[in-house]
Symmetry: C2
Subunit: 431 residues, 2 copies
């Protein structure tokens, strides 16, 4: 059995074997410093020519960047750096000596890096982002289970669209005509709450948007949650709890990753102890106008507006109760103002943009039918969804969170394409 | 705040409110027994006409099956059934009185139930299967993390096929031609191990198979795991550990669900303490021939063969080292016999069929290139995959587990379509 680098701290004074890749090598000709990674972490192995058999030293000299290797040696504490451990090499064997590695230390253009995504993933920053993504996903699963949500996967092949038809990917489907790739599992988990009470899905969704911004992918991961007997205010509390649980778990588990990314986490820590801010949509518009935005009532917020609104905020900001006219048909109309719906967008701090969109859902059969007709949607396509209001309708609410947007915010990654292992955009289908 | 039914055991003697659906009602005209479910469990509420205001009793009389309701009352222990709790009703309000529910107690045909899948999910058995599925998925995440695997989601849109092209769903993809929906994320996570060491993906995969058996879906969930420096024997140990971890967690958390399904769990318990069985492929063929099968060397096992081989087994059975000729190009050739590969299929007990397929992967550049050419695959399409053998190739292994197959086995469900919330088959795209 070999030892994972993350466990070296428990092995000081022992002789262990680690297996991994040569991340970097410095050699004076008499002493070589091998920076090795094995996925669990990074460690330095120190090889002294005079204390090694000649053929071992020669083997070390031949090792190129990215070569795979097995190194045996005694674990010591780094003489200067607290919490860093080294290996004093007594054996070292290359597993495969790598060809000249195409990704060097100098800057590469994004297209080159994306063409080599299968290799670029190995860079320390990409490694850190992958691990933060895993932590975010785990935090989501854990928090929702702690709140009595059950995971119920939604289908990808759907016969109709949840929100409009212009950005759908069509797929020929046997004798049944065309299937569309799901843009959201929400309608499906609304059905499942009458079975399991509270549920969530967590999978890829698809948008055929011809957009090339830093925030758009054609394929991205969403978590949709839905809960019976939860109304607007409680819905927001669950969302706030989730975002805090994600940040808390990343702060607990990802210090090494944050260092690799040179990510200052002061703002993340500060956020945990305070309640999130709230604006009603019309308050937000007024505030934005004061701050110099020319946004008008009835318009959606742009990226700049989201930035303006959260610029001086220590905490994410809910924007609640938007005009019915610009929101989806399934959102419940505010009993206090029939032009508004009981929804929210949650805007992150540090320029994160929109993290969550949520709403209480229309639970009245007749009102929902009216909205479906008003939007010109096919009544037949939504028959099953209307059924949910015929057989034991309940007040219920839910929300969706975009995984890559959260990962981008927490990791501080510049572009969303770094926040998913193999990004797909309008121009990118490989590797 | 209302109380979840699962928490009633902690509230004996207290007055609480539960919110849910009327699963069933029996009434003598003087006393009514309301079976209520809220997703977390089932409870009986007892309403006595004489002790309630007249309008409350009248409200109860109007409640139909599947009506949503809120009931307040004192929690008592069931007079006869250990571990069952009741509510002595003092308040009861219908939230929405359901229209006549289309799913009755009498037998419905599968097509009718599938057309009403959005409602059928509410039945006790479907509820139990949904919750077992959630538990299986949680167990997979937990076990893999405990073994140092990091979740790295694979892409759904792929430019080429992992295993053949006949069963792919094509999707028109902007100016880039055609994308295919992924059948396996394996090749992608093989790239990611050089970053994170051990990783897994967990998402939907797609097969355009014109098959209508009890075991086929066009869209199903797979978990693929991959680990650097893990060879054939250790790969099997990880698979065995995973299956046992899943069964263990279900036995710990799903007793209520097993009762609802009338699932005898003796065989599941028995399996936990014993090592899994192993046959080499050629031993398995000989044994099958002895048992009466006419399978020939070089053929794949059919369902009947899998059943025969595990009929008298207390534990799942590994079939190892299959003929190279019937297995995928990426499997590593057995150094002891160049006609065989270092792979395994894991066959479940109780007629579960194949649960896992795994293999050590070919890590030699030239041998892999030769296999790709021999299979007539496009060298260019696999260039990035070949790169993984050029830059620090390592011995590595992995496997894939089909979530629905595992859920079907553990829940004892008859048909795989019950093991996913909204199944998609060749004939089924709705609801």
């Amino acid at each position: 059995m070999h030892t994972f680098i993350k466990d070296l701290s428990n092995k000081v004074g022992e002789e262990v074997t680690i297996k991994g890749w040569l991340n970097n090598k410095r050699s004076s000709g008499k002493i070589a410093f091998l920076e090795i990674r094995d996925g669990s972490g990074f460690a330095q192995a120190v090889a002294v020519k005079d204390s090694l058999p000649a053929e071992v030293w020669q083997g070390i000299e031949k090792l190129t960047q990215e070569s795979s290797l097995e190194v045996t040696g005694k674990v010591t504490k780094h003489p200067k750096q607290e919490g860093v451990f080294e290996l004093q090499v007594c054996k070292c064997a290359g597993v495969q000596v790598a060809s000249e590695y195409p990704i060097s230390k100098k800057d590469h253009g994004p297209e080159f890096l994306m063409d080599n995504r299968h290799l670029w993933l190995r860079s320390k920053k990409q490694w850190a982002i992958l691990r933060i993504r895993d932590t975010v996903e785990t935090a989501i699963n854990e928090y929702l289970h702690s709140q009595n949500f059950i995971r119920t996967d939604s289908p990808i092949f759907t016969p109709n669209a949840c929100e409009g038809t212009t950005t759908l990917f069509p797929v020929p489907y046997f004798d049944l005509g065309t299937a569309y790739l799901s843009q959201s599992g929400q309608l499906y988990i609304e059905a499942a709450i009458a079975s399991v009470g509270r549920c969530y899905d967590f999978g890829p969704v698809f948008r055929a948007e011809k957009s090339t911004t830093k925030r758009h992918l054609t394929e991205f991961w969403m978590m949709d949650a839905e809960a019976a007997f939860v109304e607007h205010d409680e819905n927001l509390k669950i969302q706030e709890g989730l975002v805090k649980a994600i940040v808390k778990k990343c702060l607990e588990n990802c210090q090494q990753e944050f260092s690799a990314l040179e990510r200052d986490t002061v703002a993340l820590k500060k956020m945990l102890d305070k309640p999130f801010s709230h604006y009603f949509y019309d308050e937000a518009i007024k505030k934005l106008n004061k701050l110099g935005s020319d946004i008008k009532y009835g318009e959606d917020l742009g990226n700049d507006d989201e930035g303006l609104l959260t610029k001086d905020s220590d905490v994410p900001v809910f924007i609640e109760k938007w005009p019915k006219s610009i929101k989806s048909f399934y959102m419940k109309i505010d009993p206090e103002n029939s032009d508004r719906v009981l929804n929210d967008d949650l805007i992150g701090i540090e320029g994160a943009g929109e993290l969550i969109g949520g709403s209480q859902r229309e639970d009245d059969y007749n009102l929902l039918l009216e909205r479906i007709r008003h939007e010109g949607l096919s009544e037949k396509d939504y028959e099953w969804y209307l059924d949910l209001r015929k057989y034991g309708s309940v007040p219920h609410s839910g929300f969706g969170i975009g995984v890559e947007r959260v990962v981008r915010w927490i990791s501080g990654a510049e572009h969303i394409r770094e926040c998913i292992p193999f990004p797909r955009t309008i121009n990118r289908l490989r590797p």
